[in-house]
Amino acid sequence: MNKLQTASQIVAQLQDGMTIGIGGWGPRRKPMALIREIIRSDLKDLTIVSYGGADVGMLCAAGKVKKVIFAFVSLDFIPLEPYFRKAREQGQIEVTEIDEGMLLLGLRAAAWGCPFIPTQVGLGTDVITNNPDLKVIDSPYDDKEWVAMPALKLDAALVHVDRADERGVCRIAAPDHHMDDWFVRAANKAYVTCDELVTSDHFHAPEVSRQVFWERSLTTAVCHIPGGAHPSSCAPFYGIDNSHFLAYNKSAKDGGFTAYCEQFIDGKTEQEYQALFGGIDALRQIPQTSY
């Protein structure tokens, strides 16, 4: 089965009001080419579930977001995501703010077909008071109360991997695949962009197939976009583009997102976008961060 599609074909399958999960973590391995494609589309009223970085900030700034389900939105070395911050401080979006581990449990509950997973995480904090829909329940087995973390069912998951084949076998060779497997499993449809399109024999070696974290039956479509995670990282190919994130951060104070969009997103193909940074070869010279 050939699952290759273009970014615009993928975004055409998304609809207003959908709940969309986005893989990666903060400034790492975000499907940014798809985010740019959504910004160029007419989509609106989305609910976004993410370990958030510029994916969340940009979608908020572009007016695509009704609600964000999150534990953090951060660019790490720039702790506060500038456009998410603006959207919150201007009261433009609804939020469900939960613990990082609760988000993982919500994805797992959806993946496993459970209505909820009980956890002690969140007890005694404003995660409970600020989210009246989040139920605290008695246990049939002990005398404690438990948070019933509801399934976070996703209409679609968007993830970026380093390599995939046209049948939807996806490899994440980066040190961490983050929660991408759970985003894919929690979703009705999973759309993957890849830096490199490979043939199926790429996965034969055991150490390579160990880096495949879900079965191809869960991959709805594959889009080959070299550099598609930029300005977030996609190890081993390229690191976080710190200088771009600094400019992005600055844009929130200077020209705002409209000016950023005019410069980097509106009417541009990915090739035209990348040409602004010297093309894919230059982009792949961006070093990995050492912590």
């Binding site: 999150f70 939105v73 904090t125 929660m179 912590y291």
Partner: protein
Amino acid sequence: MTATSYSLAELMICVAATAFENDGEVLATGIGVIPRLGASLAMSTTNPDLMMTDSEAYLLSEPNPIGTRSEDFVQHNETWMGFSRIFDNVWSRKRHAMIGPTQIDRFGQSNISALGSDYSQPKIQMLGVRGLPGNSISHANSFFVPNHSTRVFVAGECDVVCSIGFNPERMPKGYNNDDIDIRLVITDICVMDWQGPNHSLRLVSVHPGVTVAEVIEKTGFEIHIQENTPTTSAPTAEQLALIATFDPHNLRAKQLKDNPPGVRPVAS
């Protein structure tokens, strides 16, 4: 041998190390340069059983030096430890985290999420609750405060309570104070813990040159003071040498404004 000259950051790193010394075999997570160097120092001296990550995806058998490392550096991995597995560790309770909250209240509750009274439109949106709710109810936690003030140690409750503390009104059914494990609070002027009456904040020691009155003035709620508060112990020359090997780029000098000395100069 006690060192004669050291920075306040180095003093705080050595205090941070004491937080981990009796922990046994747990994951030590120090968020930020000073807490991380404290955990690294503890792992290389007082508690070699500690575990530590590379802040990305591997557990290490010895701490990485902080910042850019030479091309031929090989880190000492002992297992994969991606973020999803961090939560397995958190919920196993075998962890002690040290983080720097923006607000801390009298119950030991903390805030890194947002500031302001209107949650739907915060005055300042910060990080979000991150992993604090889970950390605080699962394992030991210590706090690091680089700027001890009434803005951090707030008079009321935190604007967003991200971590559970010793607040009777919020204590969940089936829980009591013994289920909450909040350890040291290390600031730029003193060391404190939560072993005052009813788990209130208690002064443990003041840094060289700092008075108890200054601590009281800069804390927005009552702090339990014992007689004859000791002065925080100075680092040893051996500790300073080890800290330098874990921080070859001297990032510790950039953590506190103007990198003050460990012994506060007497005002003239």
